[in-house]
């Protein structure tokens, strides 16, 4: 591929990482959702670009899914849930933003180190893409573990999954990408529905020990 195509792909992947950082920075739910929509949009762009570069039309499907499902439907649905649960003015970082950012930078560095050990035999694009994808994945995990709130954890998980899709599409000629992205969308749909159905409010995971005693017959 020409260097231009390479640079564009590179740019898009990088901006995805950037978007992850922005999500990491947000501590308001609505803002987080908006940034996530942006994140998904960037992903859609980069996937589409890969489809174009690799002449792999089926990737356009993936791009479409990313655009419609992740960038539009999910954020909207979550918006409603948040309104319904009335948790929109949550400030719910576990550790300070500054520390989180430092950790995020550390993770990016780590993923670079890990990936750049890979022999250049695999073409450069793959390496760069993988490096970015890995950092997106790690940042997603970081979001999950630094947020108390169920919704924001789900958002973190979805950004993680975006990283996966990035990697999958970046892997030239990888089969089953569409299937996998669909499967993942189903997974996410389940999660969202789960939140919605089971009314999993904020701090669904803050396990109350008394409740445990009563419910699980476990005593500490």
């Amino acid at each position: 591929m020409s260097s231009l195509q390479f640079d564009i792909a590179h740019l898009l992947a990088g901006s995805l990482v950037l978007a992850s950082f922005m999500m990491l920075y947000q501590d308001r739910l609505y803002a987080l959702l908006n940034v996530y929509a942006l994140h998904a949009g960037v992903l859609a762009l980069s996937v589409a670009w890969q489809a174009y570069v690799q002449q792999a039309p089926h990737l356009y499907v993936t791009a479409l899914i990313a655009l419609v499902f992740k960038a539009v439907i999910i954020p909207v649905a979550l918006h409603r849930i948040i309104k319904r649960l009335g948790i929109h003015r949550e400030i719910e970082n576990v550790i300070g933003v500054g520390l989180t950012m430092m950790a995020g930078i550390g993770l990016v560095a780590l993923s670079m180190v890990v990936m750049l050990r890979v022999t250049p035999g695999a073409d450069a694009l793959a390496r760069e893409d993988l490096a970015f994808a890995l950092s997106v994945v790690l940042l997603g995990l970081l979001i999950m573990v630094t947020r108390r709130n169920a919704v924001s954890q789900v958002v973190g998980f979805m950004s993680l999954e975006n990283g996966l899709v990035l990697a999958a599409t970046g892997a030239k000629g990888m089969p089953l990408v569409v299937e996998i992205s669909v499967a993942f969308s189903v997974l996410i749909a389940f999660i969202v529905i789960g939140i919605f159905l089971f009314r999993i409010r904020e701090r669904f995971d803050s396990v109350d020990v008394q409740a445990l005693d009563r419910f699980r017959g476990e005593r500490r």
Binding site: L110, S111, L138, M144, D205, E218
Partner: protein, 666 residues
Amino acid sequence: MIAVALWSVAVLLALAPAGIALSMRPRGSVVLYGACLVVTATLCVTALLHLLDPAHPVLSATLPVGLPWLGAHFRLDALSAFFLVVINLGGLAASLFALGYGRHEDSPGRVLPFYPAYLAAMNVVVLANDAFSFLVAWEFMSLTSWAMVVSHHREAENVRAGYVYLLMASFGTLALLLAFGLLASSAGYDFDAIRASHPSAALASMVAILALVGAGSKAGLVPLHAWLPLAHPAAPSHVSGLMSGVMTKVAVYGFVRIVFDLLPEPVWWWSIVVLLVGGPTATLGVLYALMQRDIKRVLAYSTIENIGIIFTGLGLALAFKAQGLDWVAALAFTAALLHVFNHALFKSLLFFGAGAVLEATGVRDMEKLGGLIHRMPKTAFAVLVGCVAISALPPFNGFVSEWLTFQAILLSPQLPSWGLKLIIPAVGGLLALAAALAAACFVKLYGISFLGRPRSDVAASAHETDRFSIAAMLALAALCLLAGVLPGLFIDALAPVSKTMVGNIMPHQAGLQWLTIVPIAESRSSYNGLLVFLFAAFCGTAAASAIHRLASDRLRRAPAWDCGYPDANPAIQYSASSFSQPIRRVFGSVIFAAREIGEMPEPLAAAPAKLTVAMRDLIWDALYAPIATVIGFVTERINLLQFLTIRSYLTLVFAALIVLLLVVAL
């Protein structure tokens, strides 16, 4: 011949499921124990014939079970033949005893299925010729006996005893498993291959230590004995007899098989370890026994003592063998094996007696017994024989084996090593102390529970037990006497064993005049149980007849004189605790941290004076309690992980990921 043995084992195994069905039937126990009686008799005779076969053939067989590519190997040589005799003699007696005793079992369904399986397991242990079959049988033996230990599961302490027992048993098995793992690294699991291999001295030493731990924990060596006095009394009495009299011997077999047979020439310091464990075990065991009130627990602790004596003999054998003095090693080894045999006899006898008492009175606490010699004379007589025998008093068998051990100790100046020079006399002293204390212990056991006046109504209304039980006990008593007056025959029977294990034998005994036994040379020492017995019998009867004829044979009954204090109340008699009080004051204050707290009420106060004795098992406090505390603490802390939030669990995953990535990256 080995086919016969294996078939009999198969029959025993087949009897186990039959036991489930039989336990539903009214007289099912009789059928089952009768069958066990027949099978064990067959096995006993088979093994005896093999042991006495002048050719001493080594038979082996392989079955297509066990480890798939290896199969189950079995081997019948002199050593296993001897232990087969011990096991099945015990099983024979126990089954005979149980013919009567088993009828009183209130939950037969918890004993009958396991009893034959237990016998089978013990037989397989001594027959097995590869590590897997050996360990399977070994642990199966523990498992089946555990099931019978918890058979009376309504008493909480029995369940606890079973718990401790199973834990310690598995610990021992795992130790043996590690030992075999070391051996297998070079030679695989087949014992023949292991014999052929030449492991390095370091590896052999490690194996020997592991074997001592593994077999010792099953045999009840201090400090791994804690389970024994809990578990043995908890089982039904005929099973207790088997566990104490026979199963501990199977443990001894395991040690002998690994250290004397599978391993190459011993390293000299192994013997030091064994002796340093064996001597104290003997003394401590009998001291514990002296402090007990529960009659079956006394017997269990005295088992520990005898195991200590046996291991001392084995340690001596190791020491002499390592120095190439195999003719002395043969002496020590024979002494140990003879004691194995003798202890199997009288310990089974005593446990049967305890069972008869338990069945007649329903109590195991000596403080509630007394005067049983009047109510159950036959049992009392048999138990008396057992007590004399286990106290190592001539002309009974216990004395012979201890005497031989002493003879071996007296030869220790031959050893070059200084450590042994200094340790062996000390160990001899410990053995002497143990022997004397054992006598004291059994004077107490017999005097308190069988002599004197009944201390409770149940004791006063006791009745003689059934004829099967009595037959079993009297037969064992007769064997004790026989082995005591004609030890030469038994020593000669052991010759092939010591020949194969330590490479030499004691001088041939049967040829000597008057059936004397001479360990080395007549100029050193000799003992003739037969003559001692005859002389004593002659002197006694002569004196009796002479006095009765020449002087007077008149006899009047009258109230006890007792220095003119006629006391109606049997409570004034000495009790078990008060009997051992002097010895407790001599030894106990150190070993049990025994403290006597006396409360004397004010003058003219109506309150009774009280004397309470507080004793602590220092070994338990030092070894077992800490482990329990640590486990409790750690589990308490680590249990918090059950209650974390999902986010914290995710954090764990995340951390694991980061760590692994770093590992790969750097």
